[in-house]
């Protein structure tokens, strides 16, 4: 469990994180979404105490990260891709981290196997590809068998096989009851792995929600129907949870709240000919961009206001 309490982080004049306040629950994958520069990495760095918040505080399993006797057992983190000395082998790197906690060599071997680094473990980390570097970072994150796993853009640089591996890994860790907190700037990737969503833009919290309700808000599942009698069909489909839209004079309707199967049956019963019946997934990416774009505009206007008041 990660608790972020009214955290503000300012670098000089720049507000990197502006009053973030949310909780990351165990047992599910929580996606941390936002465009580049939204403050995701800064927030993650504050969670493991690399950066100190300007105000507010962050706790992990009820304590500040640095107050735990075995921090790597509480949180395993993958930060920016390279947090490794290029002159050291993957094995030596992991072993040096393991020594700090008294983690046995056996566990180092385990995470090397788990991350698929068996063949390159004795090679210098500096010779690794981006994908191999990510795998080494993930091996390091899992080293302490941590209660909370926090990964910053883990799929960056991974091949399709690696991306699939990450998805299954994250779901598996969450299923074991761990807290899994993963950042991404790709909504589509999060929709596949995450249950909960925390969305930020320009350092501010935009949404603390679930993937399901985000999809719902974005318009849910829609069905496109092209029929011989759109007027009559529209009347037939009407109901409390159903919305039907369509331009007058065309044969096409957009329906949400009913499945393609239900629409087809209703039309058949009424003897209306169906020419096209297509299930349309909403574009999560567009909904996400709409949300974060608003944030950018909102922030710009407040920036101007602040400057004005300072000048006055």
């Amino acid at each position: 469990m990660i608790e972020i309490h009214h955290v503000v982080k300012r670098y000089g004049d720049k507000m990197a994180v502006d009053d973030l306040d949310f909780t990351v629950e165990p047992g599910v994958v929580t996606g941390f979404l936002g465009p580049n520069g939204a403050g995701k990495s800064t927030t993650m760095r504050m969670i493991i105490g690399l950066d100190a918040p300007t105000s507010g505080h962050v706790t992990v399993n009820g304590k500040h990260y640095a107050q735990h006797t075995a921090p790597l057992q509480e949180v395993g983190a993958l930060l920016e891709a390279r947090s490794v000395h290029p002159g050291r082998s993957a094995y030596s790197h992991l072993l040096s981290l393991a020594y700090t906690h008294g983690i046995p060599r056996r566990r180092v071997d385990e995470v090397i196997e788990l991350a698929g680094l068996g063949k390159v473990a004795k090679k210098r980390a500096g010779s690794f590809s981006l994908g191999m570097g990510q795998r080494l970072g993930i091996a390091a994150a899992l080293l302490g068998d941590p209660q909370t796993v926090m990964l910053d853009e883990p799929v960056n640089g991974l091949d399709p096989e690696g991306v699939l591996w990450i998805r299954n890994l994250l779901k598996g860790l969450a299923a074991e009851g761990r807290t899994v907190f993963v950042s991404s700037h790709l909504m589509s990737e999060m929709a596949l792995t995450a249950t909960n969503l925390v969305i930020v833009g320009r350092g501010r919290l935009l949404a603390d929600t679930t993937v399901a309700s985000f999809v719902e808000q974005a318009g849910g599942e829609r069905v496109k129907v092209v029929s011989s009698d759109p007027e009559r069909l529209r009347a037939l489909l009407a109901g409390p949870d159903v919305t039907v839209t369509g331009e007058i004079g065309t044969e096409t309707l957009q329906v949400s709240g009913l499945s393609a199967r239900e629409i087809g049956s209703l039309a058949a019963d009424a003897g209306i000919a169906i020419y096209d019946l297509t299930q349309q997934a909403v574009s999560l990416e567009e909904a996400f961009m709409a949300l974060t774009n608003d944030a950018v505009e909102y922030r710009s206007s407040t920036d101007t206001e602040t400057k004005g008041s300072v000048a006055a």
Partner: protein
């Protein structure tokens, strides 16, 4: 499949298995393994020994009583310390600044978020290693040089008064310079910046002293890090130098001051 299980498991996993614990001894073990696993550590140490022994031998071989700047066999055998101090100083700078330039520091501080044990461990390890290697180099240089000097008036043996004190004083000097480098590297977090400060502290400070009035200069000069340290491995210190013990203590003071600054920066700024 997972959707059903997840709601029931969190309570069971909130009690962490308390098998692991960070202790100072373990951090020291970790830093030792980091030192051993970098090829550059070994190359640099070998260079430091090579510099001490080769320069010491050449000085002894070329010794000419008429044009000599050095008055005794110990001073000749330690001629290479001027170069060796830079090599071990750079080793120290890279031990700390290297973690920042490579990004390794994030892994290090994620594992040891209290941070200071990392700095102290590095200081202890580099002090110990450089002291042992420096002592071996100084003794080897002295013995090798003794071969060329035997029969000449300045010849000395290990059992002569003050000889071992000087050789081990030189090792102590090198070890303190390595720790100074480690402190500077942690303070400025950049290899280039750390090395500049190191060279400045050891070699350029006397140049700046020329700007001072001459009577101040004579008072201050013995207290500069390199001069103070040098008195620790000089057989016969004259009136312009501190006594060997005081000299090494003054150098220790400089190193401590840098470490206090480094510790403050490590503890209080973002990594």
């Amino acid at each position: 499949m997972t959707g059903v299980q997840i709601t029931s498991t969190p309570a069971a996993t909130t009690t962490a298995n308390p098998r692991y614990k960070v202790t100072f001894r373990r951090v020291l073990r970790s830093e030792w393994s980091k030192f051993l696993s970098l090829r550059s550590s070994w190359i640099t140490l070998a260079l430091a020994v090579l510099a001490t022994v080769v320069i010491g031998m050449v000085a002894a071989y070329r010794y000419d009583p008429v044009h000599a700047d050095q008055h005794d066999a110990v001073a000749l055998s330690l001629d290479g310390i001027t170069l060796a101090q830079l090599v071990v100083g750079v080793l120290g700078v890279l031990a700390t600044a290297g973690e920042y330039t490579t990004g390794m520091i994030r892994s290090t501080f994620a594992a040891v978020p209290r941070r200071l044990p990392v700095l102290w461990s590095k200081c202890l390890i580099y002090f110990g290693v450089v002291f042992v290697v420096g002592a071996a180099g100084a003794v080897a240089s002295f013995l090798a040089g003794a071969g060329f000097l035997s029969g000449k008036p300045i010849a000395l043996t290990l059992s002569d008064t003050g000889v071992l004190r000087c050789l081990f004083g030189a090792a102590l000097y090198l070890a303190l310079v390595a720790v100074l480098g480690a402190g500077l590297g942690m303070l400025v977090r950049s290899a280039a910046g750390g090395i500049c400060l190191l060279v400045g502290a050891l070699m350029l400070m006397p140049v700046f002293l020329d700007l001072l009035p001459s009577n101040w200069k004579t008072d201050v000069t013995p207290y500069l890090p390199a001069n103070a340290g040098q008195s620790g491995f000089t057989l016969h210190t004259d009136s312009t130098m501190l006594s060997p013990g005081t000299g090494l203590l003054v150098l220790l003071g400089w190193v401590t001051a840098v470490l206090v600054g480094a510790a403050y920066r490590v503890k209080h700024s973002d990594s």
